[in-house]
Symmetry: C2
Subunit: 335 residues, 2 copies
């Protein structure tokens, strides 16, 4: 079934059929009707490969999502999708794990799809470096800043992680907490959002003159309930006198709370817990989770907007911070 068959069946030429199917002018109403009738009857659809080959366009946007446990991702993805639907573009999503070979495989698949642009969700710049930087299309890093990294086709949209983490620690200090533990994600790279959050914590401790022993007070964990549970157990061993813990993600905070309770301790009476992300779920837990609410819709909207600009107008990369909101909650108490 090709456009030629439609032409033959309708008694017109391929050009006329093409004009009808692309809503172009210079076609008589009669021809339009007849051709559309044949198209409807046969269920014909243009071959997208041929169309894109001729028009030198490609298939839409590729989205790379690293990790599935971040509870903020589903809402961001839906928002992105819904924005892209408005443009009529397709959206290829690649979920990848943290292992290197999957990143490369995903990069290969993305590259072969010849997307017009790429969005990166989760992980920091290290993913991008490792495979995706060879794909010569505009991109937006939706978590973590790409400023000062020398990629002029990579924009970024994120929360001001450093400042937000500072706010969290300041808040805990204001409430009288001094022995504060940090449950962090991977911190190898400070352009990583979690690394930035750690930096914010250290800044706050320093500014307020509160000593902080990273070896004892900080433990890293992956973004998963089970991993953060175990990490929190280690923290409790190393620092049994802690009065508060800051988890670098809500999902970690939830794992941590379970660990605290399984030790027979109470939240927040014995240990206060603060999360990061502000997922809706946090407000349905008992106690309601104190957290930093990231504006997932804002992140999605601005990312898509930046990407569109870059694709359509060739705008150079820019870097935006999306406002966050510190959300006090019952999981923290005043000492």
């Amino acid at each position: 079934m090709t456009i030629k068959d439609i032409a033959r069946q309708s008694g017109y030429g391929v050009t006329t059929v093409s004009r009808v199917l692309n809503n172009q002018p210079n076609v008589s109403e009669e021809a339009r009707e007849k051709i559309l009738e044949v198209v409807r009857r046969t269920g014909f659809r243009l071959n997208s490969n041929a169309k894109r080959l001729k028009q030198q366009t490609s298939s839409g946007i590729a989205v790379v999502v690293k990790g599935t446990n971040n509870m903020l991702f589903p809402s961001i993805l839906q928002r992105v999708q819904s924005k892209l639907l408005d443009t009529g573009w397709a959206c290829m999503i690649n979920y990848i794990d943290e292992s290197a070979d999957e990143v490369e495989e995903a990069a290969r698949i993305c590259a072969e799809a010849h997307p017009l642009g790429m969005l990166f969700l989760g992980g920091g710049i290290e993913n991008f470096r490792q495979g995706f930087s060879a794909i010569p299309v505009p991109g937006v890093l939706m978590t973590g800043s790409a400023r000062d990294l020398g990629f002029d086709s990579l924009s970024s949209v994120c929360t001001d992680d450093v400042y937000a983490a500072e706010c969290v620690i300041e808040h805990l200090l204001d409430l009288g907490h001094r022995r504060i533990a940090i449950l962090s994600g991977w911190t190898g790279d400070e352009s990583n959002p979690v690394g930035l959050r750690c930096r914010g914590c250290l800044n706050a401790f320093e500014r307020r003159g509160v000593p902080f022993d990273a070896g004892r007070q900080l433990v890293t964990s992956r973004f998963s309930l089970s991993d953060s549970y175990e990490a929190m157990c280690r923290l409790l061993d190393a620092m049994p006198d802690m009065t508060a813990v800051f988890a670098a993600a809500d999902v970690m905070a939830i794992g941590a709370i379970r660990a605290i309770r399984d030790r027979g301790l109470r939240v927040p009476e014995d240990v206060s817990v603060v999360g990061f992300d502000g997922v809706e779920l946090g407000q349905y837990l008992t106690p309601k989770l104190c957290t930093v609410r990231q504006d997932s819709e804002g992140i999605a909207d601005r990312s898509v907007a930046l990407l569109m600009d870059a694709i359509r107008q060739g705008t150079t990369a820019s870097h935006e911070l999306v406002p966050f909101r510190f959300t006090p909650g019952e999981s923290v108490r005043r000492l």
Copy 2:
């Protein structure tokens, strides 16, 4: 940048370059080396549109996900993605909302991508009817059975929702509960998984001779925390003497628990709660959620396998049930 440029730059012909890039025989090692060197240096990639046009293949799998609040979806999607990565196929994911026009838009985009196959996650057969059934490729419905529906290209893989719901109700009845409320999803179509779960509940009540007044004891809600919270409030108003509630999804159970607590009632002392899905999160809540654990990995694996068979061997549609496991938990007590 085309294959011709590579040919010119490497001093070979396009045929040879094509053979190298497609790992075909009859190329000298020297030519292979030289050509690959040029490819690496220039970052050249075959134009996938041209390639697919010539080879009359298409771009991979389209996945349609309806709703983002089901906490089981991320793990299923990642598993699907990882299985598909093995095949080297791309995977286009479409998140859609429940509104009709988004379904149609998504269907249009999927159709234009000419996928080799489709996967449907969330929602029941009604989505498929409404737009996707016109896409002439094999599909697998990952939630809800497509048996007896007369689509011979649509397979299905799901949990035995009816039986699982029967188990839940039987369990509650065994523990002495008699005034059991049901917090259900949309029930308009009994091929819908949530509809099937309701049917299972009714079966169990009937078999055990326990009266059930659907008008008072059953409330429907969307798959969201806020919606199920409100629905639970209505249930508590209509049936203040309830001793247990069965929520048709874990996310609803969590919304319900918040509603119960906001009334000053305790879980499970005043009201027992059972969920459905068995998301990992449930075991991190307090109390640990009693639920039905669906085998998300099994669902993903079997769905991909069925789809692959249908695409590669033209297997006709089949319908599979994946075992579930009833998971007792602290959110239910014996009366």
